[in-house]
Symmetry: C4
Subunit: 307 residues, 4 copies
């Protein structure tokens, strides 16, 4: 139990929690309000975070809209200054202008239809500039989304109160899901419990707070000794304080060349009192070390001595 | 009060300050001079920092200028080597060349007008190369500006001298304005006060210097105990030393995947002696924690015991 | 020997190792299994890590495939709406459409063949949009691969048990292979040895854990004193515990403006007991310091006093 | 004088230095050899570090070369499959093909000359793909060079042995040259001196090792107290040990959103024994703090008490 016990860890003070502070997916459960839209909205953030489906839909809408707008401009100002158009009706003329516009915006510029005269020349000149600039944003966003580090730390589904030396410990297991290298991994565990009717926050001490190498899996261990806020609690006592363990993992990903983070939360529903993770590393017949990530969450029941 | 008290914190020594060192927007108030323009000017820095309006104006100017220059080249060297032009006057010829140039620069290349012969071929060949290279800069800058982390830490409008345990403390409140995750947030507060006719700088100790999670708001607290340079000062005494509190926040933004920073300054005009921030977190009827960011700066008056 | 001795360093517990944990190239030797493909596969990671040959092959395949698909679309829906085609047979018609498609995808758009009519206009309009978006990914990946920091720390081929002051030390030598600056270099050495039939992990103390400047070479030294897990072991004793030294180097590269890392492993086969690295720095006739990186691994045999 | 005194600081051991280890521009003075070209050469590093003149020359050469190669292909395989060419001689035919190639490579694709038939279609299809891929590298490099943080820390031309409290200190002054924010600046000073015929390295203690804010200038101070390797040395003594002070500055640049670094070295020729930097901060008539960066290196002579 570090010196920062009883401090708020950034969660403010919550008198009587009913819902968890963090979802199992690692997202904060807070409802924020009170600021005007323009202060909380950030266009880049929005476009990076929406789903791929919505992103491509927005790209298509934008593409359509811009083409319609420029088509309108050509149509109103200078339809006769676009040479090479073939049409039998007004709607076909509109169509020809529309495709000329899209060919200009994407700079494909086939050239059958092409501008002649100041106004069409000027508008198409600006449209191709606009196309280059806006496609810079669209394609930059696309690549930014594509190359963004994604959550890749797999947490054991349940955390355990497990035997540890001659005491017990709070344990969970994590693994690097992908075939990449994560280096210099650090872990922090915060605990929120109910004490005397209000919620208190503690920073839990770990048997080991970081690993340099993270080839497969790592078991995080908080020993429940006399310094732990969990000391002396049996299963019923633990349930009574209604604990929520907030896990924070950070490291450096060698593929994305980025710092990566993962968050997770365990409440009583995801904690097993009296369990022990099964061993998932072994040597295969050729003497190579193996690790079975499918069994990351597997544990066996085991009796616990009272603290 | 850390060991670095009485040191300059990078602000040099200022004998008698009248103006604040930092604006409320977090910009330094310094006037720098003495270096030649070429040593202090950096083109990339300039183009990233100017307003969007000026940026687009410069892009348009550059686009116009480059087109005019290349148009001049074609016009002087090889107007007859551009085939397909339709014109009735010299000015229309210039126009046709101008639009041919812009179609080459943007690589839209409709092709009605096209080069034939060495000189026009060579110039247009170089223009399209130049277009690709310079649009790489323009679009790179555009996306760099667009994806640049923007200030998103909201500070309470006023800092407070508030009751704290059985003493008082200097407090301010910050919030993450956007719907993004800022992780691993660290805070530092420097204090500049007037002592014996000259300005002294102090690094203030904080009750808590960092939070791992930053879902909503965080109250920064400097306890005014015997080690604080503010110890024993009542409101009049505080006013006399003419304090300026310089705040520095850093963290990691999970949307931009970048380290972010925020700076802020509080002078006596923005400090309320004897206040207490109102609670802005609550539980809604469904049991979810809520936070009212609109009340970030709200506080109530409260009497202070003398230190 | 730091406090974290006997801890697992992220390698889990391995009862009786036969194969090394890390290859000489710095890759983990672990075999991971148990997770479904979609959880371990990440498309960006895959495309960044495959060889250049496979990358370009995939690009060509993708280019061919997309062109074939769009050719099929034009062919089935609207072959007559592509004007300007010249062909004498059905296969030549297919060919003309195919090249029109590739000219659209790359936005080269010569325009001899060009769309007229809604369906061809629409498909080509979408194809050029698709081309811009997908080339954003391809070219982004290409540049990402090209500009990615590559391993550039050269390790001495063998590590030595060398005389050190009046004791011995475990030593290895590293060099910056490239003509770049690596700054703020930090080193960590972990040791895995066999003790009582199971493998134990130790974090080894270093005489010096970081260097600010790294102009040429650096000799990492772990003094084998009373605190070292290697204390008192002669060559036979060392061989018996079957050691594997895991080296982790990190620094900041001034060319790539990135944090860089290097990993390496030494087992008994790469350790020479009783050696001393030869000096590779000198002054040339003009008084300039020189360093002979070709001799990085060179050492001379030397007798060792027993610890 | 920290614990790492007498250690090598990454410079290896140099018996008798004649030339400085680092130039005044902050580059290492080492001559490295012994590795084959392919191990020390890195194409990305090369293209980022060469001068702008050489970079553009290489781009032009590459553009010419690729066009010549593709022109050769078209010329040898399928000159008759390029329709629309206008020529009166074989050299004009070559010219037409050459410009068609450049229009394909840049995707400008005017289309007067255009491919018909398999071979020309295929080659131009591949050329435009090749153009997109290789321009991704060229423009990426261009922007990478353009947006790369450049050295911007200005060092005082001379370092001083100056009075400090009742002792003396080694001092130098640095300034942020540009109108940008550099945050969280850290400094380290290493000293190389001649002792008993060989060079020793020391890490010097600083009165202050970092500043959070760096609005204008910062004076780095190493107090020469009983713990300093310079203790008790007068000017002649200092000259005799032939000192070289190696300065390392790091910080975070708020414009480039990058960590930045600066290196510098002072030998006896750049050290003034018995000086004191003049004050360069002031208040102007409006009460604003000002700083005269032109006087960064200015100092006045002052008598020193013997240590």
């Amino acid at each position: 139990m570090s010196k920062i016990q009883d401090k708020e860890l950034g969660f403010g003070t919550v008198e009587q929690r009913q819902r968890r502070l963090m979802t199992k997916e690692g997202n904060y459960n807070y409802i924020r309000f009170g600021l005007p839209f323009n202060e909380t909205f950030h266009i880049y953030q929005f476009l990076i975070q929406i789903s791929w489906k919505r992103f491509f839909l927005l790209v298509l809408l934008w593409y359509l809209l811009v083409n319609v707008l420029f088509t309108g401009l050509y149509y109103l100002i200078c339809p006769s200054h676009l040479t090479g158009m073939v049409f039998n009706s007004e709607s076909e003329r509109f169509m020809e202008i529309f495709f000329f516009s899209s060919q200009t915006l994407t700079t494909v510029g086939y050239g059958r239809i092409n501008p002649s005269g100041w106004s069409a020349g000027l508008i198409s000149s600006l449209e191709s500039l606009f196309g280059l600039l806006s496609f810079a944003l669209v394609t930059g966003l696309l690549y930014g989304r594509f190359s963004k580090p994604s959550p890749r730390i797999k947490f054991s589904e349940q955390a355990l109160i497990a035997p540890y030396q001659d005491k017990t410990a709070f344990m969970l297991r994590i693994a690097n899901q992908l075939e990449s290298n994560i280096l210099d991994v650090k872990a922090q565990i915060s605990l929120s419990i109910s004490e005397n009717g209000s919620r208190k926050f503690y920073a839990l001490s770990l048997e080991r707070e970081s690993v340099v190498f993270f080839p497969s899996n790592w078991t995080l261990v908080h020993p429940i000794d006399a310094n732990s806020p969990l000391y002396g609690l049996d299963e019923a006592g633990l349930r009574q304080v209604d604990p929520e363990f907030l896990i924070f993992i950070q490291g450096f990903d060698d593929t994305f060349y980025q710092n990566i983070h993962a968050k997770m939360s365990y409440t009583m529903a995801e904690i097993f009192y009296g369990g022990k993770f099964v061993k998932i590393t072994a040597l295969n017949e050729d003497g190579y070390p193996t690790v079975d990530l499918g069994a990351l969450s597997h544990f066996e029941k085991i009796g616990l001595k009272k603290n």
